[in-house]
Symmetry: C2
Subunit: 219 residues, 2 copies
Amino acid sequence: MSHIKPIRKDREPPKRVQDPDGTRRDILETASREFALNGLSGARIDDIAARTRSSKRMIYYYFGDKEGLYIQALENAYRTVRDGEAKLDTEGLPPREALRKLVEFTFDHHHEHEDFIRMVMIENIHHGEYLERSDVVRGLNVTAIDNIAAIYDRGVRDGVFRDGLDPLELHWQVSALCFFNVSNRATFSKIFGRDIGTPEALARLRENTVEMMLRFVAA
Amino acid sequence: MSHIKPIRKDREPPKRVQDPDGTRRDILETASREFALNGLSGARIDDIAARTRSSKRMIYYYFGDKEGLYIQALENAYRTVRDGEAKLDTEGLPPREALRKLVEFTFDHHHEHEDFIRMVMIENIHHGEYLERSDVVRGLNVTAIDNIAAIYDRGVRDGVFRDGLDPLELHWQVSALCFFNVSNRATFSKIFGRDIGTPEALARLRENTVEMMLRFVAA
DNA sequence: AACTATGTACGAAACAGTTAGTTTGTCAAC
DNA sequence: GTTGACAAACTAACTGTTTCGTACATAGTT
């Protein structure tokens, strides 16, 4: 029984580990989920705190107040989705193929980022007032328009697309069709008694959306 | 001029007028506005009460609790809009004209009922759970599908529309384009720096939507 | 030592919902 | 056609809880 323990029996991890970046990220991710799920007024700071590895104190330490946290969650959502968008490359493709690919990509992308869609819905309920306050979101440049404009211009030059359309309006239409599919699934399915979220239904809607855009721009 | 009348000198309006229907309606209309503006968790019972000619106690007297009030506001919104929809008549028109009229009508109708759109957005944020609880809303029969189905069938019979499309999907597309225009105006305008709510922009989007549907169903 | 990061406990306001009544309408009995 | 009893409609003030935010203390880092 001599030197029973120079070995630090305290497997107990050191009482307090400092990890500012990790804490921040943890809070932001948790908050993003909670805001996307419950909205700004519906989300509870205490709930968010409880779901983090951190505490309420830290939320206020890093984000100031509830609105500050919300705005950063909003920025986070936009940034994530924009980063994803940048991955689309249609340069080598002929216009029709390129447009098809863009629409399919947008459809899938929306579908994969339901939390983003929900944040946008929530922000629209607030008339976009927090978006307006955010320099970050306004600063994110929007590649979506450039992409579709490039495709459209090529199509017009090649004579396969008709002239006189507005790329922003084209983007608007693609967005509308892809966004609605995610945003209004709950009410639409319940009212019309048919689940539009099944893989089969989605595949049809996706193909319809492509077809719709192709026909719309066709010369 | 003898019998001037039994003019009741007591201008004092009778201390308390009982008007159950009026009170109920007043509360419901006020609540509908507040919920559409702020959402379920964002709306405040005290605020709603203050804006009525009635009191908080009466809200609980007639509607039970906040959720009960919300559900009735939701039902109210759906009923109002459905009643409006019923006014559309396309029977005499040739298929293409009929479809154009239907799309234009839907576009305008959405535009005129922003509060309804907002209620639907809010309800989708809640995954449609209150809609599901409401027998009233589920009971409202949906003429929209019948309308578009009738037009589409005629078009196919006449050979001007292609076969094999699903009326529900057609309705979905029209809804998506018309709904998004109202629901996402705030964020879309702010992000792309162009107001899509001006009369000119709206007129273009409206015409695009019509054109889009016509081209999609064209044989 | 000085600054950053974190934990605990609490305060104040906001909020949904209630208690304890009062007033008004109505209808049957006188 | 007045009365009185009873239910429906209504008011004001109150209660208990939730919720945002903070004060204060302590531990880690440089």
